[in-house]
C-alpha cells in the first residue's frame, strides 16, 4: 500500500461507488460503477491503453444526472486479467459478454476512441444490445497518414511485424518499468499532451500499481500502441451506416494530437445513421471527455434527454 504522500486527488474525480467483476470466457474483467444502481444504465467503454478509471471525472457527472454508469477494464488493461492473446475481435466479444451480463434490456452505450470503434463493430452484429449510442472520437474513416507512399507503408508494416514478433519472443521477460508518480506521468504525457500533469499524476495512482521499486502501469507489457494486420479504418464506416438507433458522434478536430484517427466531419457525415447527430470541435483534443468533461457531459446529457 503506498504511503499517503504517494496518493493524488484531482478536482471532480470520484472513485467508483461500487466495484466488481464480469467473466468473459474465463477471463475476469474488472467492473466499476457510479450512480444509483436502479437508474437507467449507460456502459462506458474506454480506449486503447486507457482503463475504466479514466472516467473518474466524466462518469460521476453523468451519474449525478440520474444514470447508472458501468465501465469495465479491457483484457490486459487496468485491473482485468491479462490474456494470452489479444485482438480487436476478442475485445468486441468481451464487451458483449459484459453488456449481456449486466442487462437483459437494451442500454445506452458510450465508447471513446478504440472503445467507440469496437462498439461500432458490436452494434452492427448485435443491434439489439443498445437503445442509443454515443461515440467519442472513435470513428476511424481514413488513414491518418494518407500521403504515405506504398513503399513507405510497406516499410512501416514490416518494421511493425518484426517488432511484434521480437516482443512475443521476449514476452516472459517483459515488465513495466517502475518509476515515481511524476516520472510515470511524464512518460505518459507524450500520449496526452493536452491533459494536465495534475490529471496524469492522478491517473498513475489509479492505473498503476505500487511495489518496492515504485509505480508500474498495470497494462500488460505485451500490449503496445498500434498493431498490425490487414485492418483498415474505413471498414468502420460500414458499421456506422448500418446503425438504426439514436446516435451522437463527437469528433476532435485537433490534427496534431498524437492519438485518434483524425476523422473529419466530411469523412463521417455520409455514413451517419438516420437522424444521427455529429459534433466536431477543432479546439478539443482526442480525450474530449477528460479535457472538457463538463462540456462533453452536458452535450451527452442533452442527447440522452431526447431519448424516448
Amino acid at each position: 500500500m503506498p504511503a499517503d504522500d504517494q496518493m493524488r486527488s484531482y478536482p471532480g474525480a470520484r472513485p467508483p461507488d461500487r466495484t466488481g467483476h464480469i467473466m468473459s470466457s474465463g477471463l475476469r474483467l474488472a467492473l466499476n460503477e457510479w450512480g444509483d444502481p436502479d437508474a437507467p444504465m449507460i456502459a462506458m467503454v474506454h480506449g486503447g491503453f486507457d482503463f475504466s478509471r479514466t472516467f473518474d471525472v466524466f462518469a460521476p457527472m453523468i451519474a449525478d444526472a440520474g444514470w447508472r454508469i458501468v465501465a469495465w477494464d479491457a483484457r490486459g488493461h487496468g485491473d482485468s486479467d491479462r490474456a494470452q492473446l489479444y485482438s480487436w475481435g476478442a475485445d468486441v466479444r468481451d464487451h458483449m459478454a459484459a453488456i449481456t451480463t449486466l442487462s437483459d434490456e437494451p442500454i445506452v452505450l458510450l465508447g471513446h476512441s478504440k472503445g467507440g470503434g469496437q462498439l461500432l463493430d458490436l452494434l452492427d452484429a448485435r443491434p439489439g444490445l443498445a437503445r442509443a449510442f454515443v461515440n467519442l472520437d472513435g470513428m476511424p474513416s481514413q488513414f491518418s497518414a494518407p500521403d504515405i507512399n506504398d513503399r513507405e507503408r510497406r516499410r512501416m508494416r514490416r518494421a511493425d511485424v518484426g517488432a511484434a514478433l521480437d516482443r512475443r519472443r521476449r514476452r516472459n521477460e517483459l515488465t513495466r518499468r517502475p518509476d515515481t508518480i511524476e516520472g510515470l506521468a511524464g512518460r505518459r504525457a507524450p500520449m496526452n499532451p493536452r491533459l494536465t500533469r495534475e490529471w496524469l499524476e492522478y491517473l498513475v495512482t489509479v492505473g498503476a500499481r505500487h511495489d518496492a521499486e515504485g509505480w508500474r502501469w498495470k497494462i500488460d507489457p505485451l500490449l503496445h500502441l498500434g498493431g498490425f494486420g490487414p485492418w483498415r479504418p474505413q471498414w468502420s464506416m460500414d458499421h456506422l451506416a448500418a446503425l438504426d438507433l439514436p446516435f451522437l458522434g463527437v469528433l476532435s478536430g485537433v490534427q496534431d494530437d498524437p492519438m485518434g484517427w483524425k476523422s473529419r466531419r466530411g469523412d463521417i457525415e455520409p455514413f451517419l445513421p438516420p437522424g444521427g447527430q455529429l459534433e466536431f470541435y477543432d479546439d478539443i483534443g482526442h480525450f474530449l471527455h477528460i479535457e472538457k468533461p463538463r462540456f462533453i457531459a452536458d452535450l451527452v446529457l442533452e442527447f440522452l434527454g431526447r431519448l424516448p
Partner: protein
C-alpha cells in the same frame, strides 16, 4: 520412426512441436528442417507424410495454439499474425526452416516468410482447411460469446476467429514483397494449392512465384548449397 514431441514456451502457454523424422543427411546435419503447418482445426500428422520422403533434413510439425497438443488460451483472441509467433518460436529453437503450409498453415507460412526472411528458406502453399479465411473483405459481422472452455482442441474460438479473418490480396502481396526482397532463393514461394482464394490468385500471378505439385515444390528447396549458407 514414431514421432517425438517437445513443448516450446509460448508466453504462459506451451506449443507442441513434433519431430516426424530426423535428418537423414551426413552426421554433420548439413541441411535445415522442413516444418509442416497444418490447416484450421487440424493437428500435426502422426507420422512422416510420404510426400516429404525426399527431404534430407529433419521433418518437424507444429500444432498451432489451440490445436492438437498445444495449449488453449483463455478467451480466444486468435489472429493469423499471432500464429506467426508460434512459427517464430520454432525458428528461435531450430534456426532456418523451409515450410509446407496447408490451408490456414499456408497463409501463416506466407506471412512468416515475409516477416522472418533470413530464417525461412522457402514456403510451399498447399490446399487445406482454412485457406480462405474470411475472404478479401470483412464478412458479415458476427459476435458470439462461448463458455470458459475445457481446454480441448481444436479451440472453438480458433475455429470461429481464424475462419473470419480478412485476407486482402494487397496485404498478401506485401508479405510476398518482403520475402522476395531479402530471400537468398530465386523462388522462395511455391504454390501447390489447386484451390485459389483471392489472396492466392494474387500470389500465384506474381512473376517471382512458381507453381508446382506438392512433391515437386518441396524438391525445389532441396539444395544443399543453400542449406549450408
Amino acid at each position: 520412426m514414431s514421432r517425438r514431441t517437445e513443448f516450446l514456451a509460448n508466453g504462459t502457454m506451451r506449443l507442441a512441436l513434433h519431430t516426424l523424422a530426423d535428418s537423414s543427411g551426413a552426421s554433420d546435419d548439413s541441411t535445415h528442417p522442413l516444418l509442416l503447418l497444418h490447416g484450421l482445426g487440424e493437428q500435426s500428422p502422426a507420422s512422416r507424410p510420404a510426400w516429404t520422403d525426399a527431404w534430407p533434413g529433419a521433418v518437424l510439425a507444429l500444432d498451432f495454439t489451440g490445436h492438437g497438443e498445444s495449449d488453449v488460451p483463455r478467451g480466444g483472441g486468435y489472429m493469423p499474425e499471432t500464429l506467426m509467433a508460434d512459427v517464430d518460436a520454432v525458428i528461435a529453437r531450430y534456426g532456418p526452416v523451409s515450410i509446407v503450409g496447408r490451408g490456414l498453415g499456408a497463409w501463416i507460412a506466407l506471412l512468416i516468410s515475409g516477416a522472418r526472411t533470413a530464417s525461412v528458406r522457402g514456403v510451399v502453399l498447399a490446399d487445406g482447411s482454412g485457406l480462405f479465411g474470411g475472404g478479401p473483405h470483412p464478412p458479415s459481422p458476427y459476435v458470439t460469446v462461448l463458455g470458459p472452455g475445457d481446454g480441448r482442441t481444436p479451440d472453438p474460438y480458433a475455429l470461429i476467429e481464424l475462419s473470419r479473418d480478412v485476407r486482402p490480396p494487397d496485404y498478401a502481396l506485401d508479405y510476398l514483397r518482403f520475402a522476395l526482397e531479402e530471400s537468398e532463393l530465386e523462388t522462395p514461394v511455391v504454390v501447390a494449392a489447386r484451390i485459389r482464394p483471392d489472396w492466392l490468385v494474387a500470389i500465384a500471378a506474381d512473376v517471382s512465384v512458381a507453381e508446382a505439385p506438392l512433391v515437386e515444390a518441396i524438391g525445389s528447396f532441396i539444395n544443399p548449397q543453400l542449406a549450408n549458407r
